[in-house]
Point group: C2
Chain length 162, copies 2
Amino acid sequence: MFTLRESTITSVPPAQLAAWRAFLEAHAHTTEILSRELKAEEDLPLSWYDVLVHLNEADDHQLRMQELADRILLSKSGLTRLIDRMEREGLVLRSACPSDRRGTYAELTPHGLETLRRSAPTHLRGVRDHFASLLTEEEAEVLESALDRIAAAAREAAQGSR
Amino acid sequence: MFTLRESTITSVPPAQLAAWRAFLEAHAHTTEILSRELKAEEDLPLSWYDVLVHLNEADDHQLRMQELADRILLSKSGLTRLIDRMEREGLVLRSACPSDRRGTYAELTPHGLETLRRSAPTHLRGVRDHFASLLTEEEAEVLESALDRIAAAAREAAQGSR
DNA sequence: CAGTAAACATTGCAGAGACAATCAATCTTC
DNA sequence: GAAGATTGATTGTCTCTGCAATGTTTACTG
């Protein structure tokens, strides 16, 4: 009889499984805290901050909706609504893409830039206090390279199923 | 003049900031993929799987609502609705706590246990393929200890604000 | 160059979660 | 041991998100 317990077939080594669980816990807790702090101190949702950061890093402070959705890891429709809300508050604006009339740019406004500059210290302090300062230099390097590898693999795998 | 740029005051070292970004990316992509795979192959939401795992690990296959909510990192009301849905499908059931009549247990049913056993290989394979197999033994150990530390600190910090 | 296919963004809809208010039971304290 | 505070869970309501369908524009193909 070829009786094997399922757990034998698809097991994950204990150290790796523990790493996976720690990964989930750490993410849930840290993002929760950073989100609360940003909301409490700057009245800014973390998702808005994320949009501001990515637009600020882009050429001309603008990005195509599709591209921005990919970068902040949100669905297209999710981004449409998010930009709706932020546009209502004057943090971003939509502009037509001249070369492709289907396309739309989301663009940072001066008010959006100012909001980002005002909020960044709060967020960066949070990242430092709740994440960066708890890592040694060596650990940070290991995390970065290992997690980059994982993110890259996942991005490719996701591409296939989309 | 004591003019310091804000970024000087609250900066995060590049290696740590890169680690933070890789952390966010890796989490978003891997959970997305695992969730899709579990949904596609077992028609089970990841949040349901998570409940099944934690109940399975608990004594008598049951946990107080509060305790379960803490473990799966969900709000109390969120868990109430989640257990509603799972109870409707017969995967769990509610039972009264004998010692405290305010309390409610969520308890694994045989069908729930069977569903867990059926789904576990899919999930574990996903964790292995998209996470564990991409780490060396040393990396896994570093991740576990570093992320445990971060999770523990965040848990304490969150406790204060609740 | 006509006709189909693909890409971009938005909209309708429904699922899922958080917060605050509520109800019931237990604990505290005088 | 009664009044008030606290705890456990649920419910009402609102926000956010994803999926599928839609309208519009562009790209491909015979």
